[in-house]
């Protein structure tokens, strides 16, 4: 039985609507550190298409040492990224701000100690949701929210949000790599990344 659908079948079979414009946000790729596997400092997902926008969801089950997470695109580890992260730690009505320039990844949370909202990154599990412009000819600007576990019902968590960019105009994003910000800590087994996207209109 053929898996291929002929043009006439596409018209006759109402289930077959692969018209690009009718599709929702499609999954483009993903990667996960298998349960039981050793921790990793990097996790790369290739994309099966390079769409106008991409949406990234990250589940990190924890880190081997205090650190934060970052994203690299197309394997580019040159100093071609900036990020701006704000955090409000539990009990503080204010936010603390960290702007980092000429980075080797887009870092997804603040990692500065000594501020009002002192935050070293921690080792706990975290979840992050972000989206990036993936238009040819301009930088790849994005934004994200992150939450991090405290492992205690008696300890409220911090609030995180940020923006950042991969300042490479000549490429569209074809792969996404999740990295630890310092490159030393490893991400625990079960950590994963999944990427969705959509072309306009």
């Amino acid at each position: 039985m053929s898996e291929f659908v002929t043009p006439s079948k596409q018209i006759l079979d109402p289930r077959v609507d692969l018209n690009k414009q009718a599709r929702g946000i499609e999954r483009l790729g993903g990667a996960k550190i298998p349960l039981g596997a050793p921790g990793q400092t990097q996790l790369t997902a290739g994309l099966r298409a390079s769409t106008d926008i991409i949406i990234v969801q990250i589940r990190c089950t924890g880190l081997s040492a205090v650190d934060t997470l970052g994203l690299r695109f197309n394997g580019d580890s040159s100093a071609s990224y900036w990020n701006h992260n704000d955090v409000s730690t539990a009990g503080n009505a204010t936010f603390s701000n960290e702007n980092e320039i000429s980075q080797t990844s887009v870092r997804l949370a603040i990692t500065v100690t000594g501020l009002t909202n002192n935050d070293d990154g921690g080792t706990q599990a975290r979840f992050c949701f972000g989206w990036f412009n993936n238009t040819a000819g301009v930088e790849k600007i994005g934004q994200w929210f992150q939450c991090r576990a405290t492992n205690s019902i008696a300890t409220p968590g911090n609030l995180y949000f940020g923006t950042g960019s991969w300042v490479k105009t000549g490429q569209r994003i074809t792969s996404v790599t999740l990295v630890t910000g310092g490159g030393v800590a490893t991400m625990n087994a079960g950590t994963g990344i999944t990427i969705f996207g959509k072309d306009y209109p």
Binding site: R15, A22, G24, I55, W82, S96, Q143, F161, T163
Partner: protein
């Protein structure tokens, strides 16, 4: 060709899942400009089926001169340009600073659009936009009989790995009490003010979902 078995649907985007309670957000429509223009679409609005909740992603490739983007919406397939909108935008500083963030606030009432970014030269965090590329996400609640509330975030580039950008978040409301606050189904993007045009390939997509 054999029947498609439950759980083995080889056509995950096909109509057999449309209007299904199991379906996620459905792509309802969108627009992308092929040449520089101040409005997307260039005439009228993008008309979509009514849903309880809309999710919109906007990409702005750039502007011809300093600009920010705004949105107009409407019911019954007509964009509403009346003074039925209010919006509030907050901005966090960019540059290369480190420390406690002071957010600046700009609230506009009884206006004719939602400004989707802080847009004011009147207060300390002076920002009326620039030429750089942006991406935005917008969510809108669409219950007939109540005002339409939306929230959004924006990220804007700096065109330099050596310059960190600003943070933008905002919210707005569209209030049409006189008409009974009908469900909206029409969307349009425009530059907020001035003579700026959006660069080619700028566009937006609209997804929707009913709650049940």
């Amino acid at each position: 060709m054999g029947e498609v078995q439950a759980g083995k649907d080889r056509y995950p985007f096909g109509p057999d899942r449309l209007n299904s309670a199991a379906q996620g957000f459905t792509y309802l429509g969108g627009a992308e400009i092929t040449a520089a223009n101040a409005n997307i679409p260039t005439t009228g609005g993008v008309i979509v089926p009514v849903r309880d909740l809309y999710l919109i992603y906007i990409k702005i490739v750039g502007y011809s001169v300093a600009g920010t983007v705004a949105m107009q919406i409407g019911a019954n397939s007509v964009i509403d340009v009346g003074a039925k909108y209010r919006h509030r935008n907050i901005i966090g500083p960019g540059g290369n600073t480190l420390g406690t963030t002071i957010f600046y606030n700009n609230s506009i009432n009884s206006t004719t659009q939602w400004d989707l970014a802080y847009n004011s030269s009147a207060v300390a965090q002076n920002d009326v936009g620039d030429l750089n590329t942006c991406i935005l996400s917008v969510t809108i609640s669409n219950r007939p009989g109540t005002s339409k509330i939306g929230s959004w975030t924006q990220a804007r580039g700096t065109a330099s790995a050596a310059t960190a950008g600003k943070l933008f978040i905002g919210q707005g409301e569209f209030i049409d009490t006189a008409a009974g606050d009908p469900a909206i189904n029409c969307f349009k993007l425009k530059v907020s003010t001035g003579t700026a045009t959006m660069s080619a390939d700028s566009g937006f997509g609209i997804w929707g979902r009913n709650f049940t």
